[in-house]
Symmetry: C2
Subunit: 723 residues, 2 copies
Amino acid sequence: MALAASVIALLFAYIFFRQMIKADEGTDLMKKIARHVRSGAMAYLKQQYKVVIIVFVILAVVFGVMSFFGLQNEWVWFAFLTGGFFSGLAGFFGMKTATYASARTANAARKSLNSGLQVAFRSGAVMGLVVVGLALLDVSVWFIVLDYFIPAENHLIIITTTMLTFGMGASTQALFARVGGGIYTKAADVGADLVGKTEYNIPEDDPRNPATIADNVGDNVGDVAGMGADLYESYAGSILATMALGASAFATSAVEGMQLKAVLAPSLIAAVGVILSLLGIFLVRTKEDAGMKQLLSALSRGTNTAAVLIAVATFGIFAWLFGTETNQWWQVSLSVVVGLLAGVIIGKSTEYYTSQTYRPTQKVAESSQTGPATVIISGLGLGMLSTAIPVITVGCAIVLSYLCANGFSIDFTAENLSMGLYGIGIAAVGMLSTLGITLATDAYGPIADNAGGNAEMSGLEPEVRKRTDALDALGNTTAATGKGFAIGSAALTALALLASYIEEIKMALIRVGESLPNGVEAAKATLVDFMEAYNVNLMNPMVLVGVFIGAMMAFVFCGMTMNAVGRAAQKMVEEVRRQFRTIAGILEGKAEPDYERCVAISTKGAQREMLLPSILAILVPVITGLVLGVPGVLGLLIGGLSCGFVLAVFMANAGGAWDNAKKYVEEGNFGGKGSENHKATVVGDTVGDPFKDTSGPSLNILIKLMSMVSIVMAGLVVSYHLL
Amino acid sequence: MALAASVIALLFAYIFFRQMIKADEGTDLMKKIARHVRSGAMAYLKQQYKVVIIVFVILAVVFGVMSFFGLQNEWVWFAFLTGGFFSGLAGFFGMKTATYASARTANAARKSLNSGLQVAFRSGAVMGLVVVGLALLDVSVWFIVLDYFIPAENHLIIITTTMLTFGMGASTQALFARVGGGIYTKAADVGADLVGKTEYNIPEDDPRNPATIADNVGDNVGDVAGMGADLYESYAGSILATMALGASAFATSAVEGMQLKAVLAPSLIAAVGVILSLLGIFLVRTKEDAGMKQLLSALSRGTNTAAVLIAVATFGIFAWLFGTETNQWWQVSLSVVVGLLAGVIIGKSTEYYTSQTYRPTQKVAESSQTGPATVIISGLGLGMLSTAIPVITVGCAIVLSYLCANGFSIDFTAENLSMGLYGIGIAAVGMLSTLGITLATDAYGPIADNAGGNAEMSGLEPEVRKRTDALDALGNTTAATGKGFAIGSAALTALALLASYIEEIKMALIRVGESLPNGVEAAKATLVDFMEAYNVNLMNPMVLVGVFIGAMMAFVFCGMTMNAVGRAAQKMVEEVRRQFRTIAGILEGKAEPDYERCVAISTKGAQREMLLPSILAILVPVITGLVLGVPGVLGLLIGGLSCGFVLAVFMANAGGAWDNAKKYVEEGNFGGKGSENHKATVVGDTVGDPFKDTSGPSLNILIKLMSMVSIVMAGLVVSYHLL
């Protein structure tokens, strides 16, 4: 069924793509600009894949060697490659579609707002459907293959823990897509703004600005390909982790076949989610003369309908799988509802803190009256305060999904714990089950943004530019919600991965034929046994130091990406200044700027700068494991997850608020465009760029990747400490 | 002996104070300005104490009621008041001295650089000696009193766990001093800079600026009184926690009197530290014609000599206490050395990242060429990266002091754990043992700063102003080191408090006559028993949610204090603008500004704004305890400690780097004073003000206070969950 759903998703993605391609791309100038952006985006992707391939080859060899020495299962090196390949493929298709769609969206907007929305949204849906389709395809094919090859003893536990390590491919791909894409897009954006807007007072997306093409390319590589890879990883990771947790929780179930059902449940929920997301996508349509409000409600109708239907369907799925004799079917279903609700609340809270229709962002705009420094201070203050609701929401989601799944028992028994952790995984799967449509609304944003850029650069009528601006504004709202969703789902996924880490330790011990440090036989050991045997408690200095290092990693990783953007933007600024200085007639619009040079600078900058933070993120969990052992790794993961999650929310919301505070001033408040106050908010917006689009989103990857690396390296750590 | 040392410290503090008072205060104008600052500072302190007294009365009643119901020992309400009183007294004396010293320092600087240094440093030493003297006095008197009253059974364990709750007084006082003082000083500073420097282009400390007196008052209430209360808390907290950990670790020791010796060791180290700090203070002297380099080396000579001698003396102390038959004497002594070394390394790393003589800060200055936004981005990047060394240092200090004290065993047995935690506590005591002199170098900074302000406002010759600037620059270096020291010691102290939290839980169970949840008798339960009985492991969702909330608390607390500064500064800006507008002749220096109004605005702003974050910091640990129980509280403390520590380092270093990047530009680099680049660095400096002087330092308090509140409320939490 998961396989069928994935095929349906890919089929519709193809249909939407064909529909879009058939649409008219507009005037020759529009086509030319679109071609520029497209070739820049593809050139970047090619460069990125070059780096990624090298890293993949190295890691595949490492995994191969580990398998040879019995430190890992023999499938991981190949499966690692398939995961990375599919994730890369999803990014490639998504971005290809986006770059074809932007000019067509601008052209459709010449007809009406609704036509523009249709083209942009359906093209975004291609990304959403390709991601869920390919992820489900990868998961289901591998399950079928392993089901055939793995021997009967501990069958499902071996399958699921083996498959869990496959997530590493998606993680590695996501790392480079998010970090590299994030650096690319913001180096271009910051560089374009600093010289164009601030020094020469020319508007956004002005064709005279040499960095403007690079800026538009950046939207595609960062917000489409990067976001897609990020959520591909969460999606695949949450399913794989929950399968492993299910296999463990139901290992001793007395009911025949229960374990298999628990393992298949996450894929089933995901499959149903794909179909219902597709339904939601078709619901997004309005009358031709629709206004802004109707557009927004059309989008929400699609997402909300999908979410509600998935919630209802879940009860059906679990009633069918688990039977209605016991209460388990509705209890576990409630965990899904908890996950779905948490996603909605985090999205709403992000909107509240970052939209200029609410007080917080208006206050940031207000503080521009006393200059850029107070804009920065108030934005940082807002971002920090805005962490409260998402953290409390995730906290409640953890406790509630845990309690729902284990039948509302707070007794800390091994059985309750296993069921509870399965519930947390199921909540993550539930939250992500709407990904087909939520990612569509996400990917829609940069397409609309690029359409606006195309309209501006090709000098379309002001009426059209106004329509694309409206589409863009809608995209900003969905992007804010989407960012909250991406962070929240990353946190829950990382938690599920963390819980399943213990399953990998168990497998590693079984593989080398050892018992736990306290003598309990590995195959029979419960999670509680593991906690006691490895002393994973808060008085163990190894755990404490691990937590400290995890918290530090979040900051150091952010600092590295912030500095990377700073350095790459610096180069961009110098280039743009040079072109303004040396190319005669460029400012009068008589000479064409050298767009390619700027694209090349961003590409090279991103490629160079993404390596160090990426290597750090991969190495630190390994080193921690070797030095501090299993308790140190768990401390590291918890420290990185908690601090990284809070930091990511802070950065995303502060950045979003600065962006919209600037827009609020541009709408005519506090002096409007061109005033000193406006300049102050531009400073905020520029600082916010790497916050919300580079460092913040990169943290999503960090918290998942560190768990994934730990999972893959579990065998090494265990064997090393047995020496 | 501790009593004797405290009396000696207080005696010398009095002598230094008399010496300083005898010095000439300079011209009439200088006296007048000093009087303004003094009365402003005292007026603020009075206001702050009014709020603090109300809070103290409320909390004392709460503790009284808790004692009545057997949820707390019967001493706590009164001891709580004495701790708060002594901490407040230390702040009062320190600030009084500082406000008397600044004009005298400026006047002495008319003679020579060295004379200025002597007056300022000896006055700073008053603060250092009063803090350690009063803290030791409080601890030793209470020990003698309780030793007399407490019955013989479990004698020392009851004494030490009772005394531990006394730390709450110092914590509460520190909370208001740091948060209130931090808001005060930066509201005044930011307000003065935004209008004076940025809008009207008049220099720092110009007498025409109405907020300039408030700014100078702020240095005293924030950097002298606030810093003093912060370190008073760390000092007392580390001694009390280590006493409790010692009583527990040696409870079953076969050697007669070992337990008492282990309990007294921390006070003994502290006492020897006081005497050797005093010696160090006397070493700080140079030739009359000394240059900047000699001054700095004079200061370092004092601190380093004190540190080395303390390390040596420690070996003597433990050889005498523990005897040299076993290896324990030198093993535990090594823990002290670890603590001392960690303090030095953190201080050096702070200096590296924040001084303009090194590359990182120079790079921030360099980024001013592309405007304020890149200054902010690079400063934030620097701050985030700068967290690596302090965190790794503290991590190593934790592991090493743990291993040293338990004889280098990584076996996780109850005995090793107890000894190891005692070692961590001893490391914290060791780090803080030099407080007498390190606090002197800290408090010296604002005195020199104020001396510069006085020199500027009273129009002394440029030569004198140059000398006070040199003294100020020296103060900036010591202040940066001091901040790192304050954060590092807060982290180690909080960790020691966290470990001793379990001892309080034990006492609470004994008081109500209950066993552990798993049936182990409370009096005989080891730390490991507690971890297992309460399931304080990383798979327990209560722990996980606690960690998340702790990490969030650090950010929310920072956000609140950032916004508080923003709001209070806003009011100050409006007032200064109003005065420039309405008071005729103010800008020509013909009419005197209304300094008092600005002082009043800062006072009121600080008073109003400090309440909400303070109440939050006190309530959250209580609520967490009631909802999530003991594992939730431990999660909260670890999450808050790890994330808060990293965040504090980030904020302190980013703020320091911005400050000095501005100074670097002012020294003539990248365009020098008045250039666009300089303006960009002023924006960075303004954002950095609340970073390094309000929110960052307030986190020191938060991480210690949350532990302390949990300790005091342990009885309530335990009894509530037994219902």
